[in-house]
């Protein structure tokens, strides 16, 4: 299933555009997959393990997602929504708040891609790791090395660590929905093995994104001016480690212009962090 990863960048506090017939849908919102009130959605944290429901929900949200839109550069269009809301286009009047960015700067036009999502979920019952390891496919368990079963599934390509307390860590997914779906699949596997597994407290713990600013960067200059946030030790690591405070994100910035962002709990933090760092990086572009 094709996941739409290139969601539009994070707008800060957009009101609903004038002329909209339905309330509350910011057209540029990256949070759309989580239900915006447009069509009545089932409540998010269902603890039932119906995978069919999960996949149906995902497909609905896929159709709802707008085509990737850049800041104020294209005419906004909405996609066909399941249900009865008529399709409309918002005319780009001067009154329409298109971008909240400062007028002097423009947005980067680059969207960081998510590379990894780490999430945890509580299956709500004690597990016998030995039976899981023996009966499940693609499971490894080496109690002398690590006290959890390591299970892998192919679709979405993820790895899970399942502990005997019933808690599970799911890593490797490329989007929030994939992570949730994968966690449900693992829980399903455990359930089929005979344990009364539930799906409690699914939480995304960490999101990693990466992108390329397409120009080389003078790291020495950056560490001189942003000393309190940066750490650049070429002997220890070739990249500059920038610890941003406002969204609490750690960025690894490399000479080639590639940037890795990590430590986010929501997608918006990655986008916001990148929008914050981009003008700074432009100032330290290598001129040769």
């Amino acid at each position: 299933m094709e996941q739409n990863n290139s969601l539009p960048p994070f707008p800060q506090g957009l009101a609903s555009p004038p002329g909209a017939m339905t309330p509350g849908l910011p057209l540029f919102s990256p949070m759309m997959p989580y239900g915006t009130g447009l069509t009545p959605q089932p409540v998010q944290n269902t603890n039932s393990l119906s995978l069919l429901e999960e996949q149906q929900r995902q497909q609905q949200q896929q159709q709802q997602q707008a085509t990737p839109q850049l800041y104020h550069s294209q005419v906004s269009t909405t996609t066909a929504l399941p249900g009865n809301t008529p399709v409309y286009t918002t005319p780009l009047t001067p009154m329409t708040p298109i971008t909240p960015a400062t007028p002097a700067s423009e947005s980067s036009g680059i969207v960081p891609q998510l590379q990894n999502i780490v999430s945890t979920v509580n299956l709500g019952c004690k597990l016998d790791l030995k039976t899981i390891a023996l009966r499940a496919r693609n499971a490894e368990y080496n109690p002398k090395r690590f006290a959890a079963v390591i299970m892998r599934i192919r679709e979405p390509r993820t790895t899970a660590l399942i502990f005997s307390s019933g808690k599970m860590v799911c890593t490797g997914a490329k989007s929030e929905e994939q992570s949730r779906l994968a966690a449900r699949k693992y829980a399903r596997v455990v359930q089929k093995l005979g344990f009364p597994a539930k799906f409690l407290d699914f939480k995304i713990q960490n999101m990693v994104g990466s992108c390329d600013v397409k120009f080389p960067i003078r790291l020495e200059g950056l560490v001189l001016t942003h000393q309190q946030f940066s750490s650049y030790e070429p002997e220890l690591f070739p990249g500059l480690i920038y610890r941003m405070i406002k969204p609490r994100i750690v960025l690894l910035i490399f000479v080639s212009g590639k940037v890795v962002l990590t430590g986010a709990k929501v997608r918006a933090e990655i986008y916001e962090a990148f929008e914050n760092i981009y003008p700074i990086l432009k100032g330290f572009r290598k001129t040769t």
């Binding site: 020495e220 750490s231 030790e233 070429p234 000479v255 080639s256």
Partner: protein
């Protein structure tokens, strides 16, 4: 005898009639006398000078003119404890030959770890012949970190090694992490971690390392003449200016520059030898050398005397 000015921590003794007058010490009688009116202000002041005067040159084990330990009181937090020394004479031993009064334990137990660390720092610094000023700076850094207690869980040796690294950096003579590893039992990873933690805890920062910081040490360890060292410094600086080696560690660039300079002179050194001294793998030197080789003609200083011309430099 003129007296010195008093410290701020002590209560200021002054003449009630002349508060600005500097009191004169008469230590024959232990008095502080106001020079303006002659009033005796202090009385029976304890003399802290030495009791003996020694004129001999020989270093006797006992130096009776010392009235206290030589330790630096600033670092130890004012060590005023005393202890019973080993007895002399027959009376101090009991039947079995053991000495009575065995109380030689627990002096300044709270700072025992710190004293241990200072000893370790001195040992490490001695191995690479670091001067006293770096050792003092390291001790100060360690004291600050120790008192802050934010890195309490970390091994003291790791913190000491990291403090040594920071002190060398701050004094303008940085040592590579590998050089510090060579004199310490802690791994480079742990020293690096402690380094970052200490910088955060003390809220300081250090300057970025440059290729020139290591040239004199590496070249003299290799036995290269001054001309070659100067050429290598010039090559490395030029290479960084022309951005021929983006993203490479300055140590690797320095090693490659030394290789190029030594290969162009009479004193040719192999990549392995340079790698041993610099702590860089010889493949790393090869990689950096490949990056600077195409512009070799521009990188040499203009007044360099070539033993091997630029086009005959080895190409790997």
């Amino acid at each position: 005898m003129a007296s010195t000015s008093r410290g701020d921590s002590l209560p200021k003794v002054q003449c009630p009639n002349h508060p600005d007058a500097i009191l004169v010490e008469d230590y024959r009688a232990g008095d502080m006398i106001c020079p303006e009116c002659g009033l005796v202000v202090g009385d029976r002041v304890i003399d802290v000078g030495s009791e003996w005067r020694t004129f001999t040159n020989e270093k006797a084990t006992k130096d009776p003119s010392r009235v206290g330990d030589t330790q630096n009181p600033l670092l130890n937090g004012g060590d005023l404890t005393t202890m019973i020394s080993k007895g002399t004479g027959a009376a101090s031993f009991d039947e079995f030959g053991n000495s009575k009064y065995q109380n030689r334990r627990t002096m300044s137990s709270s700072d025992r770890a710190m004293l241990n660390a200072f000893k370790e720092i001195t040992t490490m610094a001695d191995r690479i012949n670091l001067p006293r000023n770096i050792i003092d700076r390291t001790n100060n850094l360690f004291k600050q970190v120790y008192e802050q207690k934010s890195l309490k869980g970390r091994s003291n040796d790791a913190i000491a090694s990291a403090c040594l690294y920071i002190a060398c950096r701050q004094e303008g003579v940085p040592r590579t992490f590998k050089e510090i590893c060579a004199v310490s039992r802690i791994s480079k990873k742990e020293i690096g971690r402690c380094f970052k933690l200490i910088l955060k805890a003390l809220e300081t920062s250090v300057d970025l390392i440059t290729t020139g910081d290591f040239m004199s040490r590496f070249c003299s360890n290799l036995g290269l003449p001054k001309q070659v060292q100067m050429a290598a410094t010039y090559i490395a600086r030029k290479a960084v200016e022309l951005d021929l080696v983006p993203g490479r560690s300055p140590i690797s660039v320095a090693a490659a520059a030394i290789y190029m300079a030594s290969q162009a002179s009479a004193e040719k050194k192999t990549q392995k030898e340079i790698g041993d001294i610099a702590g860089v793998a010889d493949v790393t030197i090869r990689q950096s050398y490949r990056l600077i080789y195409p512009r070799a003609a521009d990188l040499f200083p203009p007044d360099f005397k070539f033993d091997t011309p630029v086009d005959k430099l080895p190409q790997l």
